[in-house]
């Protein structure tokens, strides 16, 4: 597992899924949390200054536990929405976990 920051004009993999977060501290913490929650996958980060794509291939988990650890404080995942103008993939939201995924990707686990 590696965090890979893509050049802004690099082609994106169509099977990448995950959140798009407005630039700022929360985005940085989501990158760390996604890296912790998806140990078998590379985390691809595309920083467009105003918004940041944080994606993994086929399936992307984000848990409250990892995000709270990265932030150093309590955080309810529902509040992610405040800084999340978009996300890529199907989504399943639960109190302790958000999951973005595709059902037809070879990266699906």
């Amino acid at each position: 597992m590696t965090i890979i920051e893509l050049e802004s004009d690099a082609a994106l993999d169509v099977d990448h899924v995950g959140p798009v977060i407005r630039a700022g501290r929360l985005a940085e913490c989501v990158i760390d949390a996604v890296a912790a929650d998806n140990p078998d996958r590379d985390v691809v980060v595309v920083d467009r200054d105003d918004y940041v794509r944080i994606h993994t291939r086929g399936r992307c988990r984000l848990t409250r536990e990892s995000l709270e650890r990265a932030l150093g404080e309590a955080f309810q995942l529902e509040a992610l929405e405040i800084e999340m103008p978009s996300f890529k993939g199907r989504l399943r939201t639960r109190t302790d976990e958000f999951l973005w995924y595709l059902t037809t990707s070879d990266g699906e686990a």
């Binding site: 467009r48 105003d50 405040i82 996300f87 199907r90 989504l91």
Partner: protein
């Protein structure tokens, strides 16, 4: 011990009961629900991807609202608006005039979901969607109202949809159709899925990034905050699509193929010129084509495929249109600038032209010679030669000008006859949209149809401008007073 939301969520949203003395088909008429031939119990599989409870909703929206207001207050004290590039302002004028009342229309659409959607889970989410759209319309109005004192064009935030301005009529034609006159299922496919999950990202996330770079922090922040609501409530579309793919996939495919093309044409008009011509050169993040590839091709279309939808049958022509169609539209809009309520930037100074050539390898061949003639006319002091004398033919589906929808030199006529009348289209794709459902578009005359029928008097450009509500204080003109054309004299 407190239950967490996962424990009580399903109970809280399944607020349905069995009707004992009323026919369910009268409570939820198919003409509003759009349930069609889908069996009633199929909707039990409808599962929202993005869960929302009222308590969380209020808390989160309150925090969003506080953030938008804090940024707005700080920037208005700093006088940031006065320092913005005038070319960029056209993007904000066009956005607010073109979308504020669409947000208002969306309240009606979401309230229809609240009342008529074929499952209580969806009706529950419609409540939040309705509150979201109320927020968006009110945010736009508040933002614009504060700027009225420095710029009368912001009055068009409220006013535009009460005029007959041609571009606004095109926006209205689309959203009247898919928001106000569509049943719940069709609105979910056309609006929630196609517009909100797909195309609004172009304007509210990608263009917001351009606006942020241009220093318009307040507007950029407003846009992306609005899109955080859209991203959530757009998810109403996916479980609806899943049910349709199981029981009526042809209907889903057709509704989405029509909405995708109509959205493409509209955003080529709204977002294309804003990104590639109105955003100051140094602040452009990427080209319109690059953003379309990121947001529509890579981000949006892949998820539809995951549900088993095919790409629209005209996919190759859609990709081709990304190279040129918005450039054609921009040229037309700049040429017809007196018909706009904002000042467009020509955006073809020598430096801007170099950027266009780099981003679009065929730009110079396709459009350079036309702009060269305009430049020659300006340099000769003949600005009247760069202004329109007549009106363009408009498409009977998109209500946008005919010419160059797929490629600038493909100008073959596309027309259909229906009930003794001839209808004209900007492309074979718009013709297909008409032919599969002609009643939807017939007898909705375009501005030019009205002109030719004698509804607009006197029958000349000033008569048309008066009919469109264009007044001297907002009438469009070249934003830099042709300074870019004079740069070529010294080159």
């Amino acid at each position: 011990m407190l239950l967490n939301r996962d424990d009580w969520y399903e109970t809280s949203r399944d607020l349905d009961w069995t009707f004992s003395y009323v026919d369910p088909n009268e409570v939820f008429p198919a003409s509003w629900s759009g349930a069609g031939d889908v069996p009633a119990d199929a909707w039990q599989d409808w599962e929202e991807p993005f869960r929302v409870s009222y308590r969380d909703y209020v808390r989160i929206q309150r925090e969003k609202e506080g953030g938008v207001k804090a940024v707005g207050n700080a920037l208005s004290r700093a006088g940031v608006f006065e320092k913005l590039d005038p070319a960029h302002l056209a993007s904000a004028h066009l956005h607010l005039g073109g979308t504020c009342m669409v947000e208002q229309m969306a309240i009606t659409m979401q309230s229809r979901f609240c009342r008529f959607a074929p499952t209580p889970k969806w009706r529950n989410l419609g409540v939040f969607g309705m509150l979201d759209e109320t927020r968006h319309a009110q945010l736009d109005l508040r933002f614009a109202h504060e700027l009225l004192k420095v710029d009368p064009r912001f009055d068009w935030t409220l006013k535009a949809f009460h005029t007959n301005e041609w571009g606004i009529r095109a926006v209205k034609a689309f959203f009247d159709d898919i928001m106000l006159n569509a049943d719940c299922v069709e609105a979910a496919l056309a609006v929630s899925l196609t517009v909100e999950h797909g195309f609004t990202n172009m304007q509210f996330v990608a263009l917001a990034a351009d606006a942020m770079a241009a220093g318009d922090i307040n507007w950029s922040n407003l846009l992306s905050s609005i899109q955080t609501d859209e991203a959530r409530h757009a998810q109403q579309g996916f479980p609806t699509l899943a049910v349709l793919m199981e029981h009526d996939p042809e209907r889903a495919q057709q509704a989405i193929d029509v909405a995708f093309w109509r959205s493409t044409r509209l955003f080529q008009t709204l977002t294309g010129p804003a990104m590639d011509y109105y955003t100051p050169l140094e602040q452009r993040k990427m080209s319109f084509k690059e953003f379309m590839l990121e947001w529509i091709v890579n981000h949006h279309e892949r998820i539809l495929e995951d549900y088993g939808l095919k790409k629209p049958w005209y996919w190759d022509d859609f990709l081709r249109s990304l190279e040129t169609a918005h450039h054609s539209m921009h040229l037309g809009m700049w040429w017809y600038r007196p018909t706009l309520f904002f000042k467009p930037n020509a955006g073809v100074s020598p430096a801007e032209r170099e950027w266009l050539r780099e981003k679009y390898p065929t730009w110079e061949r396709d459009f350079g010679y036309i702009w060269d003639q305009i430049i020659a006319n300006v340099q000769a002091g003949d600005v009247p030669a760069t202004l329109p004398e007549t009106l363009p033919v408009l498409c009977n589906v998109t209500h946008l000008p005919i010419g160059g929808a797929c490629a600038p030199h493909e100008l073959a006529e596309h027309k259909s006859e229906y009930k003794g009348k001839v209808y004209r289209f900007d492309s074979h794709i718009s013709k297909w949209c008409f032919d599969v459902d002609p009643e939807r578009y017939a007898d909705h005359p375009t501005v030019v149809d009205r002109f030719l029928a004698g509804d607009i008097q006197p029958m000349d450009l000033p008569g048309a401008l008066a009919w469109m509500g264009i007044t001297p204080d907002v009438m469009g003109d070249d934003v830099y007073d042709y300074a870019w054309a004079r740069e070529y004299v010294n080159a």
